[in-house]
């Protein structure tokens, strides 16, 4: 039998392309067929099947894709865990996942309950642990409470004495001489000087309470690193190719500015932060990715198209809208749709005052008044051409 040649394949693929098969699928076919020794008829059969399969898979118009997506995301929700789990490893931190995280995403919460970042590094830094540690030290936020034994109050001279631990400072790569400089940024008044391993601050207050307050404040001050990044963890990626920093707490804006951080790949699970820094398209992608991750972790199989439609809806206005009363559902134009969801009475009162119009275009509206819902088979109308029928009748006679 004749084996197919490269030329025949190309010809056939061109034919397929003309038939409306998308480029990427053709590309995939080319890759797969290349190495297989097929006979011409077999190839013909294969491409024929591909054509049929592809066209069978296209969506039909009037399909209620929204409802299907909502059900496909919501139904597995009943099978998800409710708890915040710790990662299997000993030293990693807790992550919200499962149902609570999914709700968080769908709600478009301002702040995730466990903010996290995965910081990718640029080439020289991502190759070895030592190199990566340099960046790590720049990023991880260090507060005074972490590098001091204690902070004493000297009530005789009305000063605050910060006793630093030199070992930790060295480990974290903190220059003790630089500390007064940092403190000055917070505290404009008073004098600050270094004495051995302690820093003495004379704020110029002679009041016990405010001095204590100041002490507490200083304890929380950031000495070094990016504000908001509470903890960082150096780990190699799953494929062991490079080192990344996983963090507890996020500050995309701060992290990206650090030299050596790969801003193109670094991600945060704080969707609003992403939106602010990278724009709505990035946020859309993050919603999809985060939702997909939750579902994957729970071992639930949900087609990505359902998540696409969800995130596209959330982002369609140009900013992230939540699913629910304060977002999408609350901004619908139909009074009935809003009233049937939540806060029924207020919706009706407002509708009266504003003289709103219910145009009955959506689903809940038409259910409420008992009409056929405008989707699926409900959107198809049949009209009968009487003249044409008469003609047929006559011709039959």
């Amino acid at each position: 039998m004749v084996k197919v040649t490269q030329k025949i394949i190309e010809d056939k693929l061109d034919e397929l392309k003309e038939d409306g098969i998308p480029e990427d699928l053709i590309e995939k076919i080319r890759g797969r067929v290349k190495d297989e020794e097929l006979e011409e008829e077999q190839l013909e059969y294969l491409l024929n099947k591909i054509y049929i399969n592809y066209h069978n898979a296209l969506v039909e118009t009037n399909e209620p894709v929204g409802t299907v997506a909502a059900q496909s995301i919501g139904e597995p929700g009943t099978q998800m865990t409710l708890r915040t789990f710790h990662y299997a490893g000993v030293e990693e931190f807790s992550v919200t996942q499962g149902l609570p995280r999914l709700i968080e995403i769908v709600d478009a919460r301002r702040f995730p309950s466990t903010p996290q970042q995965t910081i990718y590094l640029e080439p020289p830094y991502n190759q070895s642990e030592e190199k990566a540690l340099e960046i790590h030290n720049l990023i991880e936020q260090i507060r005074f409470e972490q590098i001091t034994h204690d902070i004493d109050l000297d009530f005789v001279n009305w000063t605050i004495i910060i006793n630093l631990i030199p070992e930790i400072c060295e480990k974290k790569n903190i220059d003790i001489d630089g500390i007064p400089e940092i403190l000055k940024r917070y505290k404009k008044k008073g004098t600050i000087k270094r004495e051995g391993n302690s820093i003495i601050i004379d704020p110029g207050i002679e009041d016990l309470q405010s001095l204590q307050k100041l002490r507490e404040k200083i304890l929380k001050k950031v000495v070094k690193g990016v504000r908001g990044i509470n903890r960082g963890l150096l780990t190699p990626t799953d494929d062991q190719k490079e080192w990344v920093i996983k963090t507890e707490g996020t500050n995309m804006h701060g992290v990206v500015q650090i030299e050596g951080v790969d801003a193109t790949r670094t991600v945060s699970n704080h969707i609003h932060e992403i939106e602010k820094l990278y724009g709505i398209e990035a946020a859309r992608n993050m919603i999809i990715k985060e939702a997909q991750r939750v579902l994957d972790q729970q071992g639930l199989d949900v087609d990505i198209r359902h998540l696409l439609i969800l995130s596209d809806l959330m982002c369609v206005e140009g900013s992230i809208q939540s699913i629910g009363r304060h977002g999408i559902s609350g901004s619908k134009t139909s009074v009935f749709a809003r009233a049937a969801f939540e806060v029924t009475v207020n919706q009706l009162l407002d509708a009266g005052l504003y003289g709103e119009e219910e145009r009955l275009l959506g689903i809940p509206e038409n259910v409420i008044i008992g009409q056929v819902v405008p989707m699926g088979t409900g959107r198809v109308k049949i009209s009968l051409d009487l003249d044409a029928n008469l003609k047929i009748l006559e011709s039959k006679k």
Partner: protein, 988 residues
């Protein structure tokens, strides 16, 4: 040209607005003056709350306004004239905002003309598009207007206005104290507002003047909106609304009398306030700040707002969801002998549910027969509807023969539900569309609905007392839709992930596992029996046992389970799947897998591998069922599932599948080994605990970011988990591969190794919130232990197995862990239910438009192409439109003659399987048949060469076109575009 449309839509749009006092008076049927309802004789008092002009609720009584009976009178509103104006609570906040932003003297909005202009334009623009107010603009206007202190029009000074909830307003002047703004004053101020100013606030003056939110006239709802009920004892009980209205009228009356009598200001004020209270609670009885009005019994009244609000309110309970007739509910039980498309319906139910059937010339004899049998014999009828729309109840007909003879075309017979009727079947919670599917009725004895076992997964049903609902579609349109879209076989593939949601479950998996494993052999007699049960002879008429070569002929011809099961497959089935129990070796030997864990089906024959959950189970995206449906459609899939389950049922009945206590009895060496493992783990833990107290960081190395105590917990949990795992493995090795419980876990039918380990070896650590149990008393969980005992035993490690039995302390710990699980599920169902409701509500109006975009009901584009590729997930192969691997496998494996055979038919398959959308594209349509044709000529005769085409007459050409495409060349007397294009191409 004239068209006939089916007209079902009646309401085009609904406009909202406020009623003005004039309108209320105009639409009022009666002015209500008396606070009483009925007199001593039980007759409604004229001008009372139950005035007969407000409509009637007594059957047989005619309405005094419209003259209709109860069924046709929709009731009429009345009104009362209020002695003093009263504020509508719902608008109290709005009134406050408006008062704060208008001038107290001239009532102009306190913005300069220039400022107003922009806002007005914004509002008008917004109204044009959305027909309501732009609340964002309104917000800004209020904010801005509130700031200005002096009216730019009359120069009056604005005072600070505060509200005392819910409906009292005060004007405060610095160092002058405050003074109350009475509703009369508010009314005056609002009345003076200009229409243009109102527009800026988003109010639409055509539909609602702001002063109308202050009642001067109150409209009284018709009696049918607040029907009184007569109890058995003859005592009348009035509706909550009536009670409230009585209060309103009574106080209104007293107020008027006092004003007329010139009573002191203070008394009038008091009564006025009381009137305000009553009207407030009449509108909403849950306003914060005032006590709710109560019934005599102490129950809070259910007034207007409560009627509409919430889950039990009008909107969610009566408008978004409705109660229906022609439905039934019963307990479900299994029946493996009915098809997945069927449902067993108890006879008793079938005699109550009816289907209206039009009598015509073709079914009149059948209908006569049904009528004769009457309502009490099963295939009978309950009612007849005559041509004059009169309904005859067959229960009370003495001589049914007469009635039956009367039957003529045009009558409707409401006949009993019978075999083959389509009904909708549903189980709550209806989480996805597969929760309601259409089944064919099969009448059965007994009192439960019968269900094929393989449809349990989509309904998430089991038989521990579950109940399900059944609905009977009442017209042809509904039945057609059910047939085409809702049947179970149309839902085998789930739109969630593009795989079958149906499939073998539980014992079917165990059964198929045993059946297709290496050592299952059957003699000729058994094999024939299996073929018979699996409907092989029915579905493959040319099947012959002689075609199969027996595995051995010693002592008698024996056929393997694999061979027998293969007869259920279509001939072109080609699959490679790894089994569930695949050991995941480093190098997969595929076909030659030593464990028989690599399923190979080539051209419909199971060559190697044991079929288990991965290839036969429900929700497996690459199962046999998935492949069959993808290639041969839903009907073939159903056929496979039906026959396979029937065959497997026999197998498992022959083999038996059971489990007893002795199966998990581990003793002897293995038991000692398990005990040793546990002892070692305990010792190790003790060592670490000791290290913690001694602060020995060499033994217990602190984990980064964790305290020593936390590190200890982590380590102990780890050690114990490992120990449990080892014990489990030891036990499972001891139990062996032959035990039925192991077959169940291995094949994926039910349970996992962990369950088995817990029964036979050790139950393991009980946890609360992912931690060892550390709550209870100070420093200890139970009084059995010493304070600060951190040992595994004291913190919820259960060393016993379920078979051995738990010690009291262990039992207690186990109950704690178990309780957490229960609470967790309870909480989860409600939270996930709410999330789903929100999701559905937000996403529900998105559909695919005719141009392929995804839009919501306002026609805003959400996606330009659905899913970026226009592929329907339900029709995908686990998310990909085309599964290249499988197709390639098939292309390579199929016999070349088979391919030729199929290619010969392919033009047909293409046009039939292809969706209409594909055919509408002119290019796509001409192509597919061109390809096979250009292929074929070498083998067979070339069809007419091009020149010959030209000699064809027009008539012949058209015929050719119609034969080729299955489409009409002519439509409405004109040649179709498709034909013309085709012809042009052909002639070239």
């Amino acid at each position: 040209m004239s068209y006939s449309f089916s007209r079902t839509k009646l309401i085009d749009k609904i406009k909202f607005g406020l009623l003005s006092p004039d309108e209320i008076r105009k639409m009022s049927a009666a002015r209500i003056i008396t606070a009483d309802t009925y007199d001593e004789d039980g007759l409604p008092i004229p001008s009372g709350l139950m005035d007969q002009r407000l409509g009637t609720i007594e059957p047989g009584q005619r309405c005094q306004t419209c003259g209709n009976l109860v069924s046709n009178c929709m009731g009429h509103f009345g009104h009362i004239e209020l002695a003093r104006p009263v504020i509508h609570v719902g608008y109290a906040k709005k009134v406050l905002k408006v008062l704060r932003s208008i001038c107290p003297e001239c009532s102009r909005l306190m913005l300069t003309e220039e400022e107003m202009e922009g806002f007005r334009e914004d509002q008008i623009k917004h109204r044009k598009i959305y027909s309501d107010a732009d609340e964002e603009v309104t917000k800004i206007v209020f904010k801005l207007a509130r700031k200005s202190k002096i009216c730019p029009y009359c120069g009056a000074k604005k005072k600070k206005i505060v509200i005392e909830k819910p409906t009292t307003y005060y004007e405060e002047e610095e160092n002058k104290g405050s003074h109350r703004i009475t509703p009369i004053e508010i009314l005056e101020r609002l009345k003076k507002m200009t229409d243009n100013d109102l527009r800026i606030l988003g109010v639409s003056p055509e539909n609602a003047r702001l002063e109308w939110v202050i009642f001067t006239v109150l409209s009284i709802p018709p009696v049918c909106a607040r029907p009184s009920i007569t109890l058995d004892s003859g005592i009348r009980s009035e509706d909550d609304l009536t009670h409230k209205l009585v209060d309103v009228i009574r106080i209104n009356q007293r107020l008027r009398e006092n004003i007329d009598a010139g009573a002191p200001h203070l008394i009038v004020e008091d009564l006025w306030e009381l009137l305000q209270y009553h009207i407030t609670t009449y509108l909403d009885n849950q306003v914060s700040g005032i006590p709710p009005a109560r019934h005599r019994s102490g129950r809070a009244l259910r007034t207007l707002t409560q009627r509409l609000k919430g889950k039990e309110g009008r909107f969610r309970s009566n408008l978004s969801g409705k109660r229906v007739d022609f439905s039934a509910r019963s307990v479900i039980s299994p029946s493996p002998y009915i098809s997945i498309n069927e449902v067993g319906v108890p006879l008793a139910i079938a005699k109550i549910l009816t289907i209206p059937t039009n009598v015509n010339d073709w079914n009149i004899e059948e209908m006569k027969h049904l009528v004769l049998k009457g309502p009490f014999d099963h295939p009978g009828a309950n009612y007849i509807i005559r041509t004059d729309r009169r309904r005859v109840d067959l229960r009370y007909v003495k001589n049914r023969e007469i009635i039956a003879e009367m039957l003529a075309p045009g009558f409707t017979v409401e006949r009993h539900l019978a075999d083959g009727d389509l009904v909708l079947f549903n189980r709550q919670p209806s989480l996805h569309r597969m929760s309601i599917m259409a089944h064919e009725v099969k009448i059965m004895s007994g009192r439960t609905f019968r269900l094929n076992l393989t449809v349990c997964p989509p309904y998430n049903a089991d038989f521990d007392g579950d109940e399900m609902n059944l609905h009977v579609p009442q017209n042809e349109e509904a039945r057609t839709e059910a047939e085409l879209l809702l049947k179970v076989q149309e839902h085998i593939l789930s739109p969630r992930f593009g795989g079958p949601i149906l499939g073998g479950i539980q014992d079917f998996i165990s059964s198929v596992f045993q059946f297709t494993s290496l050592n299952s052999l059957y003699n000729k007699k058994d094999a024939l029996k299996l073929f018979y049960l699996g409907d092989v002879f029915k579905n493959k008429p040319d099947f012959n046992l002689e075609d199969l070569t027996p595995i051995t002929t010693d002592p008698e011809p024996l056929y393997s389970g694999k061979q027998i099961f293969s007869t259920l497959f279509p001939d072109d089935l080609n699959i490679r799947v790894k089994s569930k129990f695949c050991k995941k070796c480093d190098v997969c030997e595929k076909e030659d897998c030593p464990y028989d864990a690599y399923v190979v089906i080539t051209n419909g024959i199971l060559l190697a591998g044991t079929i288990d959950e991965n290839s036969f189970g429900a929700m497996q995206p690459n199962s046999i069922l998935q492949r069959i449906i993808k290639d041969h459609g839903n009907a073939r899939g159903r056929e496979f599932l039906d026959s396979a389950t029937k065959m497997l049922l026999y197998v498992i009945r022959q083999n038996g599948m059971t489990m007893g206590l002795d199966e998990v009895y581990v003793h002897g060496e293995a038991y000692d080994k398990i005990q040793q493992i546990l002892k070692d783990a305990n010792d190790e833990s003790q060592k670490l605990i000791k290290a913690l107290f001694e602060n020995d960081t060499t033994v217990l190395k602190r984990a980064p970011g964790r305290s020593m105590r936390e590190t200890l917990e982590l380590r102990i949990r780890q050690i114990l988990a490992e120990a449990r795992k080892m014990a489990e493995e030891t036990a499972s090795d001891y139990i062996g591969d032959e035990a039925h419980s192991v077959i169940m876990t291995k094949s994926g039918a039910r349970g996992n190794i962990l369950n088995l380990g817990q029964m036979s070896a050790v139950v393991g650590q009980q946890a609360i919130r992912g931690e060892r149990i550390n709550r209870g008393y100070i420093g200890r969980a139970l009084p059995h232990f010493k304070v600060n005992d951190l040992s595994p035993r004291a913190r919820g490690f259960v060393e016993a197995s379920y078979r051995k039995g738990l010690k009291p302390a262990e039992f207690f710990f186990h109950a704690m862990g178990g309780r957490e699980g229960l609470v967790d599920t309870a909480v989860r169902t409600s939270t996930s239910g709410y999330m789903q409701r929100r999701l559905v509500n937000a996403l529900q109006d998105m559909i695919i438009e005719n141009d392929g975009t995804v839009r919501n009901s306002d026609k805003n584009i959400i996606q330009f192409r659905y899913g970026d590729d226009g592929i329907d997930p339900m029709h995908t192969d686990h998310s990909a439109a085309v599964n290249l691997d499988v197709l390639l496998l098939k292309a390579k494996n199929l016999d070349i003659n088979q391919i030729r055979e199929e290619m010969k038919e392919s033009p047909k398959t293409k046009t039939t399987t292809k969706k209409p959308k594909a055919t509408t594209k002119p290019k796509a349509k001409t192509k597919p048949k061109a390809t096979p044709k250009s292929k074929k000529p070498d083998i067979k005769k070339q069809p007419e060469p091009d020149q010959k085409d030209q000699t064809l007459s027009d008539e012949e050409l058209r015929e050719l076109y119609e034969k080729d495409t299955g489409k009409n060349a002519e439509w409405r007397g004109k040649l179709t575009k498709g034909y013309l294009e085709w012809k042009k191409e052909k002639l070239e």
